[in-house]
């Protein structure tokens, strides 16, 4: 992937933040090499390398990405380099850092005018992203104090921006796979995305996401969906419908964290995947009937259902471009309503029937790149 080009802007705010964090991280590498863990991942089909200073932070960081680990280190520079350190574990400070007393204070964003460097400062984190060199570097005050969302979806803002820079559509949607085929689950909150993803995973589908996915469309029009996080944030009431998940649920700290976090990879019997060829878009909705059924959805119905709730507004992306990409995706794959009945066991059966039907049709052929 060719790097983005930016005008020189090294003195700007975001660039200075990046420079300070970079300098401090270099100290960690130099002074504490045995406390730095290195992980290689395959994220959105790209090589990502993380160097994490501080063993507890390393464990926390790796958990939601564990299913994306790549046994083969990239031969050349990775497509994204992530460098983080934990001050509490390493004792390493840098100028201007320190935990804010008010954890609820909104984030402070600094960006260089050309958009190359962006830093996002919160109470106990400061993360800077250089979009040109594709490197994220950041300070974590104490990983034990990270919020449930920060541990469940590390570097969420930065990763969405990185995906966008790669031309990958970031969607608020679920994704499950069967064989090489994947089914996108889209729609507003409460429509049943998590229910479908988890019941399908329980029935033998591979779990990729119930919240955020990346979707790439190649020159031949084939769409590949990518898993970003192996974590699920579930409402406690919702969780009771999945008794096998309950022992793995990490409760949030109310009132700000009203959900429980489950690392899907921890749950025995559930398998995960990093990528799947999208063969259909399903729009779950709660039906009044007892049975679950699949009925065709028009492209217009699909787009107006999916776009408002699934399209992510990411800075520096024109929303128009994301909208067009989503439109092309909706056009490219069959689209269906999934009317959810009360019998959860029936959901994966209907979804499996659909996958069989769609993949047996001539328009779908096996994708070469659905590596785990």
């Amino acid at each position: 992937v060719s790097p983005l080009s930016f005008r020189s802007d090294a003195a700007a705010e975001g660039a200075r933040a990046y420079g300070r964090l970079d300098e401090a991280f270099r100290c960690a590498l130099r002074d504490l090499p045995d406390r730095v863990s290195v992980f290689d991942y395959r994220l959105a089909g790209r090589a990502v390398r993380a160097r994490i200073a501080g063993p507890a932070l390393a464990r926390r960081f790796d958990r939601p990405f564990a299913h994306l680990r790549d046994a083969h280190a990239p031969a050349s520079a990775p497509d994204l380099q992530i460098d983080l350190w934990d001050e509490a574990e390493t004792g390493l400070l840098c100028q201007g850092l320190g935990t804010w007393p008010d954890a609820t204070r909104p984030a402070v964003i600094e960006k260089s005018p050309n958009g190359r460097w962006i830093s996002r400062r919160k109470a106990h984190t400061w993360i800077a992203f250089d979009r040109h060199s594709r490197r994220i570097v950041g300070w974590i005050g104490d990983s034990a104090r990270l919020s449930q969302y920060e541990t469940g979806r590390p570097l969420h803002a930065q990763l969405l921006l990185w995906l966008q820079d790669l031309g990958i559509l970031a969607l608020h949607a679920g994704l499950v796979g069967r064989g090489e085929a994947g089914v996108l689950l889209a729609g507003p909150g409460g429509s049943g995305k998590s229910t479908v993803a988890l019941t399908c995973a329980q029935a033998g589908f591979r779990y990729l996401a119930d919240d955020y996915v990346g979707v790439d469309r190649d020159a031949d029009g084939r769409c590949t969906g990518y898993s970003l996080y192996g974590s699920s944030h579930l409402d406690p009431a919702h969780l009771t419908r999945f008794p096998h998940l309950v022992p793995h649920a990490i409760p949030g700290a109310p009132p700000r964290e009203d959900k429980s976090l489950v690392y899907v990879g921890d749950v025995s019997g559930l398998s995960m995947a990093s990528a799947a060829r999208v063969c259909a878009i399903l729009l779950p909705r709660v039906a009044r009937a007892s049975g679950t059924s699949v009925v065709p959805a028009s492209k217009i119905e699909t787009l107006v259902r999916v776009a408002p709730t699934s399209l992510l507004m990411i800075p520096f992306a024109t929303i128009a471009e994301s909208f067009r990409r989503l439109s092309r995706l909706v056009e490219a794959v069959p689209t269906y309503w999934l009317d959810l009945g009360t019998d959860l066991q029936e959901i994966p059966i209907r979804v499996a029937d659909l996958v069989t039907r769609v993949t047996q049709e001539g328009s779908w052929d096996q994708s070469p790149d659905t590596r785990k």
């Binding site: 909104p106 969302y149 969420h156 921006l161 217009i300 787009l303 107006v304 507004m313 800075p315 909208f323």
Partner: protein, 129 residues
């Protein structure tokens, strides 16, 4: 306003309001003609060529539809001088067989984009928290 054409019509996104609108096939034909800068009478003629409808009914449908679009600020009526009367209506030549006509529908979808979208670098909107 940006739009995307789909098999049964089109979806419009009003970038300022973040609202979505859907159009049926007749609505899309009118939208295309408006984009081509055509006058109302030329648009009605194009609709008559492509759909099974009398010219006076097409004129009334176009007028009503354009009024709806303007009310939603999806179009801003141009002065008469600006509209193009010199060119034939845009698009493909009239089909051999005219499609069935139904009065064009503009459906407003009331869940605006900005209420649900995430903006990870907006300091006022903590991400998913």
């Amino acid at each position: 306003v940006i739009h995307t054409e789909l098999e049964e019509g089109a979806v419009l996104l009003h970038l300022e309001s973040g609202l979505y609108y859907s159009l049926d096939a007749v609505g899309l034909e009118i939208w295309r003609q408006i984009e081509g800068g055509r006058r109302a009478e030329d648009i009605a003629r194009a609709v008559t060529e492509r759909f099974d409808v009398r010219h006076d009914a097409a004129e009334a449908a176009v007028a009503s539809f354009v009024e709806q679009l303007a009310r939603e600020r999806l179009v801003i009526p141009a002065d008469g001088d600006l509209a193009r009367a010199d060119a034939a209506p845009a698009g493909v030549p009239g089909p051999v067989e005219r499609k069935p006509f139904a009065p064009p529908a503009l459906i407003k979808h009331d869940e605006p984009l900005h209420q649900v979208a995430l903006h990870p670098f907006d300091p006022q909107l903590p991400l998913a928290e």
